[in-house]
Subunit: 342 residues, 2 copies
């Protein structure tokens, strides 16, 4: 092959292919991209030469020229937590199916997050952005606008982006009604607060808790509503506090599965039986919940991710799309709930 003298050999270029195929750069470009208006013979010839040199068009150069990157960014606070990981996997899957690359940006701390919106490291690098379960403040939205790309929110939204998410109030209702229907009247809630996170403006799951009790005229006791940090350890702490009460609840509604896991651990260590001594229900249905026989309200992180990207793709394609998409939730009754025995 022709070797460029001025730079280290970066491999063969379209110009090389064109020369060898005996056509112009323009024609070679069209042949490679499958643009119409090139004879079949020419196309075949060019591609054959390209093939022989295992040449592929440089997406970088191509993108520069046509003004798109072929990449979608995903902004998230977590990668390894099951819910996020599942959403991310599905997002990548859909994008890959459309020939788009997925570039992940994880802002682990408030400082990371501040810095992300300050520096906007995805700037000029993506064609669109999916914001995954991350509340966006008005100021952050302003920054994001500088990106000048399509943005969509998956699993919760605050700023006014198209979004797909569950109805948290409804999910909470499903969980609470299950406990109430079983006959529980002394029900506690373990609510999660992510210490690393500015909070969501409305805590719909907590709202569902009080609403459900209100509806039956059951007074809401402060002691029965505990707020703990996110994660299994938070659930542990929450259940410990509830067990310390003079009169513990007969059932607990945990904000999410992770909390329930920690709560279950405490109960096991305390020698208490589930569901005989304590019922527990939560929201999510992570893979481990089946293993742990946890009653929970199922939502699909993957589906939310998938629909969010599909919305984004529609926006990019200039096609019509839904501004708000609500994905279903439903109760999965398992062994952690039963009528109260006390």
């Amino acid at each position: 092959m022709t070797t460029k003298p001025e730079r280290p050999d970066r491999g063969v270029t379209l110009a090389d292919i064109a020369r060898e195929a005996g056509v112009s750069l323009a024609t070679a470009s069209r042949a490679m991209s499958g643009a119409r208006g090139v004879s079949a013979a020419t196309t075949r010839k060019v591609r054959e030469v390209a093939e022989r040199h295992s040449y592929v068009v440089s997406p970088e150069a191509s993108g520069l020229s046509r003004g798109s990157t072929g990449r979608i960014g995903v902004l998230t606070r977590h990668i390894a937590r099951p819910f996020y990981a599942e959403a991310l996997e599905e997002i990548e899957s859909v994008l890959a199916g459309h020939g788009l690359d997925t570039v992940v940006h994880c802002v682990r701390t408030p400082e990371d997050q501040r810095s992300f919106f300050e520096r906007l490291p995805v700037r000029r690098k993506v064609d669109g952005l999916v914001v995954l379960a991350l509340p966006v403040t008005p100021h952050e939205k302003e920054r994001l606008d500088l990106l000048d790309v399509a943005v969509v929110a998956a699993s919760g939204q605050t700023a006014d982006y198209p979004y797909v998410s569950i109805d948290d109030a409804e999910a909470g209702r499903q969980a609470m009604d299950h406990l109430l229907m079983l006959g529980h009247r002394r029900i506690a809630m373990i609510n999660a607060i992510d210490p690393n996170a500015s909070e969501w403006p409305i805590e719909l799951r907590a709202l569902a808790y009080t609403r459900a009790l209100d509806r039956l005229g059951i007074p809401v006791e402060d002691d029965l509503f505990v707020r703990v940090p996110w994660g299994a350890d938070g659930g542990t702490e929450g259940m410990e506090r509830l067990l310390s009460l003079r009169e513990p609840p007969t059932a607990v509604f945990a904000h999410s599965d992770d909390l329930a896991y920690g709560a279950l651990r405490v109960l096991r260590r305390a020698g208490l039986r589930v569901p005989e001594d304590m019922s527990i229900v939560s929201i999510n249905d992570l893979p481990m919940s089946e293993v742990l026989d946890l009653t929970t309200v199922r939502q699909s992180a993957g589906l939310q991710g998938r629909l969010a990207v599909e919305t984004l793709l529609a926006m990019l394609a200039g096609e019509p799309y839904e501004h708000a998409t609500i994905t279903p939730t439903r109760l999965i009754p398992r062994g952690s709930t039963a009528p109260p025995t006390r």
Copy 2:
């Protein structure tokens, strides 16, 4: 701002900044990149103008010009499985710390994998690639060579790439020795096979199983060595088979935590107590293992990911690096193992 008439406004360019700052394109470029040989005053001026227009240099164009992409690819079979997710999170963290973007490519099925190596979708799009827990065949390595970028393997290797991984045989020994030291003599192994995966050439964990028994002169019984699909369901199946034996084992060594989870579920359902009726140990120490009180051999997916990227970065920087890095494993004794009672 100057508006380009010929194309849709893609925003302000370096040329605009240069013009407004009253310097040449070249100088503006140097000022923005912080290249030396520009007066402080000029640099300040240029950056001030850029700031005012919230302009950032186009990574795409810059990369095209200097020949790098600022992106690292991660090739994996899974995103949502805890081990992979943890590694990925750490990889992204390190790369972000170096100003590099992470682009994920997940090959879920053998067909995906075939297609990945055939089409090489990361071609010309990344500066390096980390292959995460994915065995690479000689033919696949040949294809990867076409990428012409640095490649490193995290958590297991087959092709001859620099790698970082645990010593599986040693991890297996740690698990087995724990059971043996507790006095178990009738020990089963539940081994995982990923149906979607070409297998790793040597099954070191299984090897550790037979070796440990051999060392004590304990015969290896075929019935006690079960092979099941990966995941909790596989563990369930494996434990069911073991419980069906005329003489079940007193302890089980599970290839990985996920299998152990499924096995624990069977035991719970069968009303068998852990560890009194059955001890169980595995390898990984995923987050849920603490919650489940599972004795396991800890390895760190995150550390392996981190060290792998660091190796890759050293390669890219032309610095010296280790070809093989072994990360430590150690037994975490918890409540799922005890001396045999039968």
